[in-house]
């Protein structure tokens, strides 16, 4: 088709949307709702993936020692650990050092810990190990556990795993909800286009008599579906961006002290919104066009 015909079709598509206001509104809301939920899911998943990636990049294994461990045994353990594969950094933290750090972390509330001193220090001696790669974790944990003087081995993989499982649960449930919402949006758009076809049946009939091709007749209705999808994408995009930037400003507003919480740095708005809005446009237009195509094939007798 020629450019001017495409223009005419697009114009007609927009025109149909505004002519059929109530149904269009229902369609756009339905798409927007589906995409908004999709956006929330993506926001959560992207952020969790980001946290997981940053955790994995600094996998640390901490080996806590029993209180009865002797200095000599500790020194021999240190030499052995140094010989293991995949160790990039090894640091011994004595129970005294640990207590000092603890007090420092508590800052102006450290008077609460005044009761603790070298004599009743509840903290154990420990080795802090940084790894070259997260793959070494399992191996090192196993080796460390073999020593009698080792009380407990802790590693951030635990956290990584539990956070990862949150991401995958969110992804699964979220996508199920999104699928249901998209199906609903499809049904509503399908009906919208059916009504549009019905209200234009006179025109369609005339077009047939004067020799319009099938696609010339179909395109305006397809455009209508596309426009509905487009509007849905724009609205949900705005909504998602609004909610996300609110979250970002909330999170950065409250000072985060704890070590773990400091990992929850939300991704910047642009990092999230570029892929999300591209996906919104794609999914929105695809859903609108597909629903419209289905409706046309059932209701438009050309």
């Amino acid at each position: 088709m020629k450019l001017r015909t495409w223009k005419r079709m697009a114009k007609q598509g927009f025109h149909n949307v505004f002519r059929n206001r109530i149904m269009s509104l229902a369609s756009v809301s339905a798409i927007a709702a589906a995409l908004f939920v999709l956006g929330l899911v993506l926001m959560v998943v992207m952020n969790i993936n980001n946290i997981v990636a940053s955790l994995e990049s600094k996998v640390e294994v901490t080996i806590f020692l029993k209180s009865e461990a002797q200095r000599l045994d500790i020194q021999s353990l240190e030499r052995q650990i140094k010989s293991w594969e995949g160790i990039s950094e090894l640091r011994f933290v004595s129970k005294q050092e640990a207590l000092n750090t603890w007090k420092e972390e508590w800052g102006d509330k450290k008077y609460l810990l005044d009761g603790y001193h070298a004599g009743n220090n509840p903290l154990p001696d420990s080795f802090h190990i940084k790894l070259e790669k997260p793959e070494y974790v399992a191996d090192i944990v196993e080796k460390a556990n073999a020593f009698k003087m080792v009380e407990k081995v802790q590693y951030s993989k635990d956290v990584v795993d539990s956070i990862s499982s949150i991401a995958s649960t969110t992804r699964i449930f979220g996508l199920i909800i999104v699928a249901v919402l998209i199906a609903m949006a499809m049904i509503i758009i399908h009906n919208t286009i059916r009504i549009s076809v019905y209200s234009r049946r006179r025109e369609v009939n005339i077009m047939k008599y004067i020799g319009a091709t099938d696609w010339y007749i179909r395109w305006p209705f397809l455009m209508e579906g596309m426009v509905l999808g487009l509007f849905g994408a724009v609205i949900s995009g705005g909504l998602t961006a609004g909610v996300y930037s609110m979250l970002v400003s909330r999170m950065s507003g409250s000072p985060v002290q704890s070590n773990l919480l400091s990992l929850f740095q939300l991704l910047p708005l642009e990092r999230v919104m570029y892929p999300v809005s591209a996906l919104f446009l794609l999914v929105g237009v695809m859903v609108g066009t597909t629903a419209s195509l289905l409706s046309i094939s059932r209701h438009l007798r050309v």
């Binding site: 009939n205 004067i210 091709t213 099938d214 010339y216």
Partner: protein
Amino acid sequence: MIRFENVTMVYDNGHRALNNINLTIGNGEFVFIVGESGAGKSTLIKLLLKEIDPTAGSIFVKDMDITKMKRKDIPYYRRGIGVVFQDFRLLPHKTVYENVAFAMEIMEASKKEIRRQVPAVLNMVGLAPKANSFPGQLSGGEQQRTSLARALVNNPSILIADEPTGNLDTATAGEIMKIINMINHRGTTVLMATHAREIVDSMKKRVITLHKGAMVSDKEKGEYFVEA
């Protein structure tokens, strides 16, 4: 130009609307199709427009068997045929000009061509002063002239009219017939189904009479004749 060969049309409900029709219409002819209500006139026209396909037989238009035509070629075939109906079939929210331009738009004509062709054809049917009126603001005769203008704007070689004067009073019908006659004189083949005895009798054209789906007479310079 148009040739029906042993054409029979039986509708899905088993009704035999046309039975073994054979007829030939030459280039530039003017032919009336008459017959009582239900005789099969509109069925014959629908066959020509390829709105329906015959149960048996062949229909040739410009030496092409349209019963064998591919679906995708139908629109292009229809562009060569102008058609008007008793009920005008205009778009109420478009002006006279836009209704006529519409027929050129679907053929992807340029704005320039449309601006040249539409006023010319409106002039031909005597509607130039009403170009910006909406169908609701027009008399029946003016609406039918709009519809004629739309049928003619793409210079079809055949004009098909199904009771074009059915909704008009005698005087207005006469004006419409003048225009159709003029179009015929410019070389367009005209096929017109009608009940209007006065028109048929006054025009002295070829008359084909259908009765219960059969062709019962075909007369040059004939008169309106329906078997009792």
